[in-house]
């Protein structure tokens, strides 16, 4: 019940940024450079939702609200959704399907190369988000595959840091959040390695 209600709320909330853009577009509210606003807004929300997805696991462990896992997939898919909009904004509104220009961009502009890589890595994650995929891949493989989200997060932050002209404050903020999430993972991983070690030498007393 709680999950169901939360899912509806999260679904609605995740559509707010798109709704705001649409509302502004219809009311001449996107300012002097609408395409830039759309590119930035969809890019921002892709990265924010990637980071939110990554924070579900720490959050549910720390708060012991284990049901939170039930909304992670949806948030991840919304990250992909905004990533797709961001990508479409680029190929349609920004480059107007000029393949030649786009290929040149991908080859020559590190920030585009990195952005595209971040996006491409999200595709297998979105495709394998069904229960059927988890069963087919097996839990372990599925988990391994989905660690790609970290790479997307890192590439997303690099993409952002690389595209700003001088004001690196925002990408740094995102970078710090990502860093904390990665450190948490590292700590958990090292903790579990330690436990494994302890578990595999149960009888060996320390100091002998």
């Amino acid at each position: 019940m709680k999950v169901r209600f939360t899912k509806i709320a999260v679904f609605a909330a995740a559509l707010i940024p798109l709704g705001r853009l649409a509302w502004k577009a219809l009311h001449d509210g996107l300012g002097a450079n609408p395409i830039e606003v759309i590119t930035h807004s969809t890019g921002d929300w892709t990265l924010i939702l990637v980071l939110v997805t990554l924070s579900i696991t720490p959050l549910r462990r720390m708060t012991r609200q284990y049901w939170l896992i039930g909304i992670r997939r949806m948030i991840g898919l919304f990250a992909f959704f905004y990533g797709t909009l961001h990508f479409l904004t680029y190929i349609w509104l920004d480059k107007f399907f000029d393949i030649h220009e786009m290929l040149k961009d991908v080859a020559k502009r590190p920030f585009i190369t990195v952005g595209v890589s971040a996006f491409v890595l999200m595709i297998p994650l979105a495709l394998s988000s069904t229960a059927w995929s988890i069963r087919r891949l097996g839990g372990k493989n599925w988990q391994r595959l989905h660690r790609l989200i970290y790479v997307t997060g890192i590439l997303g932050v690099v993409h952002y840091a690389w595209l700003v002209k001088a004001d690196r404050r925002k990408p740094i903020e995102y970078g710090i959040v990502l860093g904390i999430l990665l450190l948490y993972r590292l700590a958990v991983w090292m903790g579990s390695k330690f436990m494994e070690r302890r578990a595999s030498f149960p009888a060996a007393p320390l100091g002998t």
Binding site: A25, L26, D28, L30, G31, A32, N33, P34, I35, E36, L93, F96, E101, K104, D105, K108, R109, P110, F111, W162, L163, K165, A166, D167, R169
Partner: protein, 319 residues
Amino acid sequence: MLIGKPAAIPSSEITPKATYVNRREFLAGAGMAGAAVATGFAFRDLAVPAVTVSANARIDGLQKSSFSTTEKETPYKDVTNYNNFYEFSTDKYEPAEAAKNFKTRPWTVTIEGDVKKKQVLDVDAIMKMAAPEERIYRHRCVEGWSIVVPWVGFSLSELIKRADPLPKAKFVEFTSLYDPKQMPGQRTGVLRWPYVEGLRMDEAMHPLALLCFGLYGEVLPNQNGAPLRIVLPWKYGFKSAKSIVRIRFTGDQPTNTWQEAAPREYGFYSNVNPNVDHPRWSQAKERRLGEFLKRPTLMFNGYDQVASLYAGMDLKKNF
């Protein structure tokens, strides 16, 4: 519709009501000042600083200029609400609000360095040095967007001639106001403050180089670099220094702020050049605000008359 073609409405119709009220106040003030001026020059020095020169005050007697383009002007609303003015904010939509209470009077400009006539000039005196012209220029930002603006001012050379530079003056350096109390962006380390720009003497003397104090026939709005800026239509926008307080003549090439921030990306010349990309993005095309498809960027932003200034120079190296 996503990208509305903005209708060509006169700026007066889209001026917010509050500024109209300001304008009335200004007119009242101007009337009094006018009376003071009429009663004799002795009062001038008393009267001028008393006038609050608010934005939207009209500048009369504008001459037409043969340098003007006939292209469609970017609406006033966009020219004054989409500004790269890092002293106020790095977000282009914010300077309009952040600069609302910026004080542009009293304002002086110090002329110094290798000149015969070192002096401190009042901005109102500078504005009266020559007849104001309306110059409708293309303006191309290094970020890849462009606008068409009816600026008001006269050739920078008018001021330079009066300052009478010495032969050893090979460059002119422009310094913008440093006042973190008024300019919130200066409380951050995004760039090194104050903002500095520079030109080679022959560039500065080129008639296209505009000393600017207005747009759309009105006193320059704060967010557009009030009260005094330069406009160099053949260079990327950041070369056109805003809110200038010092003009220094020198034998050494000044280091402009953006060059200092990222020497690989921004050079001293920064001429608009579709063949030399920014290391991180292409400069071959630009988006004219209000248009959907990008248009090709022109060499020197279409101002071919400056080409001779750079004859024989490798513009890939001197970007």
